[in-house]
Amino acid sequence: MAQMNMIEAIRSALDIVMEKDPNVVIMGEDVGYFGGVFRCTDGLQRKYGEHRVIDAPIAEGGIIGATIGMGLNGLRPVAEIQFADYIYPGFDQVVSELARIRYRSAGEFFSPVTIRTPCGGGIRGGQTHSQSPEAIFTHISGIRVVMPSNPYDAKGLLISAIESDDPVVFFEPKRIYNGPFDGDPEKPAVSWASHPKGEVPRGYYTVPLGSADVVEEGSELTIITYGTLVHVAQAAAALVGVNAEIIDVRSLSPLDTTTLTESVKKTGRCLIAHEATRFSGFGAELVATVQEECFFHLEAPIERVAGWDTPYPHAFEWQYFPGQKRLAAGIRKVMEAQ
């Protein structure tokens, strides 16, 4: 076991799969000599060489398109898109190609590309370094979508993602790269060192794709969330003093419906929270799923807390971000409903 932050855990996952499988290659902007703007690939080019950790031209469509081609020719590529906000030039390659090659070739062709990309706000990044576009990708069939909330899961899920023959978009909430964040920007930053999920095996292990994690067991309310908001939800539940069952979705698509619905059937109340904008957000899918499966167990309407339907404003980051206060208000509303 070792103490790792999320960056180190991601790097460790990449290192291990590269060591194990000579077909794993990494390509992205600034990932090679420099080691990535968030340092996730630091040292990997020195260790595995320039043919396996490849600096790319600034062209996200090119990176995704070319990694698809590499995957078609037997490699197992990991593409890094520097910020999720910059993934859109590669969108056509994801939607029309990556997601559908297996289907349209009746299973004869596939490309096992994993796209890693930092997402989310809370770093004063303004509207082009803060977005959470996961729902745009969960809407595409044929793509797996993952977002870990801690170093242990990040490493285990990333290994699973790379080893999976399906394409995966792997979102990394950058606000929690260096430590968990409970949504209060006034508090001094905490590191992963004191968090149980910052304890990460040095060697190989996997966290399966398609499985949610019950972060805290509880009986009065189920909070379904993922990414940075897992930590905010824990703090908000403590603030309200409710015995909440907190579920980290971690694999958004395909979704572990069983874990979510069993919990809601048990508690009878449900709050859904994410940082991304609300309208047509992933929360809408979660609400629908819970409603479909748990309607007769529900004691209150399902509540949704999400980012406002605005771009992420530089000056009003904390008014935009669904912090403890907003989650606490949501929790109270679900608890008070008869």
């Binding site: 420099f34 062209a59 303004g126 082009t128 404003p313």
Partner: protein, 411 residues
């Protein structure tokens, strides 16, 4: 040749600890490039995309056909604007380091591009800049204090607190709003120029992006549309040798200059010494006249050097030699224009120092004023309700509701 295929990985000429080496640059003596008439056929002037248009020689004299023969007064104006840009950048960089703004990007070493081109274009021409065109914003009349207000996201911020520092706009000055996404402005410039032609006006458009950004698809869309419709547009590629940690070879600059990117489409390209104020001015005027008279688009590559870090989040000592700029054979645009004016008897070291001092005071005063309108920590603050404005022309119902919820939570 080998019997197997081979993967080429571009390598910069020097990494940290190495001696800087710019022998790859393919320079040409000042005054050696010919200046064609503005109605020259693209295929007759392809060599200009491989050559290097330079006016200022090593003795700081102006040479050759591209000498724009500007009045000394005009050159002094240019030098002053470049100095103001440098002083402004230096101060804002410091201010970020003190934690008073969240982020900053400077244009150190690239001032001639913004100022010389700003002066060569007309006020009615529309500019679609990149984040490294600080000088263009200043020259076109954006007040120092307004630039600072934007960087502070304060109550007088033109972007109403919505954008990262340096992503300015200035509607009256025909400066489009900066995006964080690279290269997206390039097709906009082409479309704007097409509209100008559709309306029968003689305004042209100009856009700027970096060497690295030429890899984006939008760059290629822009060139194709510009070529097909012969749009009156100047497409500038500011080749400062670096794109964060990757050198220009990763954008495909190893075998052909960026100026030649349009050749296959029949767009003339001019490769110009981007640190030579006179050459940049002259090339821009040529391209602008050509566009205004129905001659269509021109690509201009400005060969320059990113004198500073990519941004305040960057540490270039990790990927390039610390002293690389000092060895850059095209020097510093400010020093070069200064020495030219001194050589011609129209400037002095004393004057130069005085102007810098004057600008430091001016920028300092603007900073004092800007802080009165609010900082990141001290009020007055913008009203957060404003974050729901301007998403649509009129605010829809669901946003009215969300705004109400937000205000209740804030109170």
């Amino acid at each position: 040749m080998s019997t197997k295929s081979r993967l080429h990985i571009p390598h910069p000429s020097a990494r940290p600890g190495d001696k800087p080496d710019f022998s790859y640059l393919n320079l040409a003596p000042a005054g050696s490039a010919d200046k064609p008439s503005i109605d020259a056929k693209p295929r007759d002037i392809e060599h200009l995309s491989m050559n290097l248009v330079r006016v200022l020689d090593d003795e700081h004299r102006a040479q050759g056909e591209w000498n724009p023969n500007l009045d000394p007064e005009k050159l002094q104006v240019g030098l002053r604007w470049m100095l103001l840009t440098r002083v402004f950048d230096e101060r804002l960089w410091q201010i970020q380091r003190q934690g008073k703004i969240s982020f900053y990007m400077e244009s150190k070493g690239e001032e001639a591009v913004s100022i010389a081109q700003g002066m060569a274009l007309r006020a009615g021409d529309m500019c679609f800049p990149s984040y490294r065109n600080t000088g263009l914003y200043l020259y076109r009349g954006t007040k120092l204090v307004d630039m600072m207000n934007q960087c502070l996201s304060n109550t007088k911020d033109m972007c109403k607190g919505r954008q990262l520092p340096v992503l300015y706009h200035n509607k009256e000055a025909n400066l489009f709003s900066l995006s964080g996404n690279l290269g997206t402005q390039y097709p906009h410039a082409v479309g704007w120029a097409m509209a100008s032609a559709i309306k029968g006006e003689d305004h042209i458009a100009a856009s700027w992006l970096g060497d690295g950004s030429t890899a984006e698809a939008d760059f290629h869309h822009a060139l194709t549309f510009a070529a097909v419709y012969q749009a009156p547009v100047i497409l500038n590629i500011v080749n400062n040798q670096w794109a964060i940690s990757t050198f220009q070879g990763f954008a495909g600059g190893e075998r052909r200059p960026f100026a030649a990117r349009g050749i296959g489409l029949g767009i003339p390209g001019i490769r110009v010494d981007g640190n030579d104020f006179l050459a940049v001015y002259s090339a821009t005027l040529w391209a602008a006249d050509r566009a205004r008279r129905g001659g269509g688009p021109t690509v201009i590559e400005h060969v320059t050097y990113r004198g500073g870090a990519h941004s305040t989040s960057d540490d270039p000592s990790k990927y390039r030699p610390k002293d690389e700029w000092a060895s850059f054979p095209l020097g510093d645009p400010i020093e070069r224009l200064k020495k030219h004016l001194i050589a011609e008897g129209h400037w002095s070291d004393e004057q130069h120092i005085e102007v810098i001092e004057e600008y430091r005071v001016k920028v300092g005063a603007a900073w004092k004023e800007a802080q009165k309108f609010g900082t990141m920590t001290d009020g007055p603050f913008l009203d957060p309700a404003g974050m729901f404005d301007d998403i649509y022309a009129e605010i829809p119902e669901h946003l009215v509701k969300q705004r109400q919820q937000m205000l209740e939570l804030e109170s």
